[in-house]
């Protein structure tokens, strides 16, 4: 998995200074945060459902091999085929082979983060197959040659004007020359183009929000209905998804389907929920004659049995992104991973290695709001802390910080040294202050004063003053 997380600090700074992005990010609060709160409040059982969903996913992960086999057996019995991909390369090769077998020249795709993870589109293009994203957001970023900045709202970073410009630039070849400014007109134009592409596609590729072991179904939720057209019109349907998407039963799936949209967009239910269960049957009027499920590992099974196993419960609702004060201020691209925000801060290092992704689990104030809203109660801050522990053990923590931590541990271990340090620090801070305030500090302190002032201590340390006043110790 390709990541570009090394330049996180620079990208975050640029994002903070990008007025268009900042304006776009304001939609998160109303569109997602408030909507989720309202939806959750409307459902008295919401908290109990979260507990149940956590337990379902934990149980599934604990017995994953069994459920995967059950799923494969059911898909096979239906006449479909399950393919196992150890990594991104294998997954891409499997998809390409199926496409070639189908003689495919164009492939329609509904939104799938796993195909973003394995970078399927550039690979298909290199091999002469044109992928066409059919989710409106994904369609827009495909035109713009960008990556999604949010796992459920890929164009959250864009303004309406930017989308208008993008359509105006790319749509003349379809006979649309006018620059549209009304949202519904823009949607209508994109839809009319996509309709043509749907009809002509040779293969349809979807992701899956859930896989149901007992039925062999792949379940996809959308608000645009594009997954249904992607899966049903071409003769071949390929589902590409991760091994952790399994749930044992349809009933478990229904529980998840009640939680997912409420957590994601605050909807009680999405406009479309599709169950894809094997290829077209004899009596079916439409549907693919060839049905494939590509199950990707790509580092997931390595998380099992580790302190990151609970991350495999994730149902990709995006609630942790929406409620993260860091994500809300810098957007998704700064993270340099298709999985941004808190879930990405845990998942990306698991998939791509902590060496290249060190900023991700560190760029959190540990405010805990992500864990508070996670529908399957993943302890995200705790797992970010585990990544920080791994970094510290492997000496990946920046040297200055390491020294500081060592020094602080030594100081705190000895009350005498601690008191001397507090006394010195107090004196120095009061000395450099002007009228009780400090405007500039050197070294690590400059990071503080780059943003804000510091009020100097009013006097000696509390413990020293307490002792002097004869307080009980």
């Amino acid at each position: 998995m390709e990541v570009e997380s090394g330049a996180f600090v620079e990208k975050a700074r640029a994002a903070l200074g990008d007025a268009t992005l900042q304006h776009a990010l304001k939609h998160i609060k109303h569109g997602f945060v408030e909507a989720r709160a309202t939806a959750a409040a409307r459902l008295p059982d919401f908290e109990a459902m979260r507990d149940a969903a956590r337990d379902v996913k934990a149980h599934t992960i604990a017995h994953l091999a069994d459920y995967l086999e059950q799923f494969e057996a059911n898909v096979t019995a239906l006449g479909g085929r399950v393919h196992w991909a150890r990594d991104a390369g294998e997954a891409r090769a499997i998809v390409l082979a199926i496409c070639r077998n189908a003689g495919a020249r164009t492939v329609t795709k509904s939104k799938s983060m796993v195909t973003e993870e394995i970078e399927l589109n550039p690979y298909l293009e290199e091999h002469g197959i044109e992928p066409i994203e059919t989710d409106l957001g994904e369609y827009i970023i495909q035109l713009r040659r960008e990556k999604p900045s949010h796992i459920i709202a890929p164009v959250i970073h864009l303004s309406k004007d930017q989308v208008a410009d993008t359509f105006h630039e790319h749509h003349p070849k379809y006979g649309f020359h006018e620059r549209l400014t009304v949202r519904s007109d823009m949607v209508r134009e994109a839809r009319s183009i996509l309709r043509q592409r749907f009809v002509k596609a040779d293969v349809g590729i979807t992701g899956a929000n859930f896989l149901v072991a007992e039925t062999g179904s792949a379940v996809v939720v959308t608000n645009e209905g594009n997954a249904d057209l992607t899966a049903s019109l071409p003769d071949t349907h390929i589902v590409v998804t991760g091994i952790e998407k399994l749930v044992p039963t349809l009933e478990d799936c229904h529980l998840m389907l009640r939680l997912l949209p409420r957590s994601a967009t605050g909807q009680d239910i999405t406009a479309y929920i599709s169950f894809f269960t094997g290829p077209k049957r004899a009596a079916d009027l439409s549907g693919p004659s060839s049905f494939h499920v590509v199950l990707l590992d790509n580092g997931r099974s390595n998380m099992m049995g580790t302190e990151f196993e609970e991350m495999l419960r994730c149902i990709r609702c995006g609630a942790c992104l929406n409620h993260c004060p860091v994500y809300a201020n810098i957007g998704g691209h700064a993270y340099g991973s298709v999985y941004p925000g808190p879930m990405g801060a845990v998942l990306t290092p698991s998939l791509a290695g902590i060496d290249k992704t060190g900023h991700l689990p560190n760029a959190s104030s540990f405010c805990g709001r992500c864990e508070e809203v996670c529908p399957v109660r993943i302890p995200l801050p705790r797992m970010m802390r585990h990544w920080r522990e791994r970094e510290f053990e492997r000496h990946l923590t920046p040297r200055g910080a390491r020294w500081g931590l060592h020094a602080w541990a030594l100081i705190a271990a000895s009350p005498t040294v601690y008191r001397a340090m507090q006394w010195t620090a107090s004196r120095v801070l009061r000395l450099v202050a002007w009228r009780g305030w400090i405007r500039r500090l050197p070294l690590a302190g400059s990071a503080w004063t780059s943003q804000r002032d510091m009020r100097a201590p009013s006097g000696d340390s509390f413990q020293r003053q307490w002792r002097k006043r004869g307080g009980r110790r």
Partner: protein, 256 residues
């Protein structure tokens, strides 16, 4: 502060774990906390070997140092029946995280659990043991800022608000987004200053929009961040620890 003790009965002892940040940066918060604990009917002891709870190391991945700092703190606080901490974040460290640092078979696990059980954040302690305002307050419009650890780890939401409402003349105001982090985040604020600074700016804008003249909170980390940002931006809103308002020591500090 008028004494509330009943001379017939010896008072119970409460240890004040003052936290390194209060100790160094805001000694007046330590005194305010001590006077409040006393007013609640306890004898305040400040265990003299206390230093830092270890949270900076713990949250930075230095688990070994965090464990030995926890071990020290557990020993230092072992003799006391009550431990009071004027910080949601340090109290959360002791109550929630200390027990996770030791194997359940380890004797220290039991000790960590015992310390966790008897440790309380200041406003939780005061709300439980009773608090009567003893100082008349100049009429003040106060916004309350929830610190993340206190709010989410310890469920501190109503206690400080209920205590503040007892102050005559105080009008309590709510932020539009009380659940959003102020951007302090321990070492986060110096590791990612640009992001932290933006979060602080959002927070101070929210505070200003309430029309408050004072913003009170339960953690000195947030306090340093918010008051520093207010000052940098030329705001005259004063920021304080909730203990300073409750103990009535704020007016003297600002010495107007």
């Amino acid at each position: 502060m008028p004494p509330v003790e009943k001379p017939s009965k010896p008072k119970a002892e409460a240890a004040l774990f003052v936290t390194c940040l209060v100790d160094l940066m805001r000694p007046e918060v330590g005194f305010a906390a001590a006077s409040l604990i006393e007013a609640a009917g306890f004898d305040v002891v400040v265990p003299k070997w206390q230093t830092c709870c270890g949270q900076p190391n713990y949250n930075s991945g230095d688990k070994r140092a965090a464990r030995s700092m926890a071990e020290r703190t557990i020993e230092v606080l072992e003799p006391y029946a009550h431990v009071v901490v004027p910080s949601g974040s340090c109290a959360g460290m002791i109550k929630l995280h200390y027990p996770t640092l030791f194997d359940e078979a380890d004797a220290l696990f039991g000790k960590a659990r015992a310390l966790a059980d008897k440790t309380e954040e200041l406003t939780v302690f005061l709300a439980r043991h009773g608090y009567t305002p003893s100082v008349p307050l100049r009429a003040t419009r106060v916004a309350y800022h929830d610190s993340c650890s206190g709010l989410r780890e310890l469920g501190i939401r109503d206690q400080p608000r209920a205590l503040l409402r007892k102050l005559p003349g105080l009008k309590l105001l709510e932020l539009a987004e009380p659940e959003v982090c102020c951007g302090f985040g321990g070492t986060f604020c110096v590791k990612y200053p640009d992001i932290s600074g933006r979060m602080a700016a959002n927070k101070t804008a929210d505070i200003a929009a309430t029309g408050a003249d004072t913003v009170a909170m339960g953690d000195v980390g947030c306090l340093l961040n918010i008051e520093g940002k207010l000052r940098r931006d030329g705001s005259d809103i004063r920021a304080c620890h909730v203990a300073e308002l409750l103990a009535g020591t704020l007016e003297t500090r600002h010495g107007s």
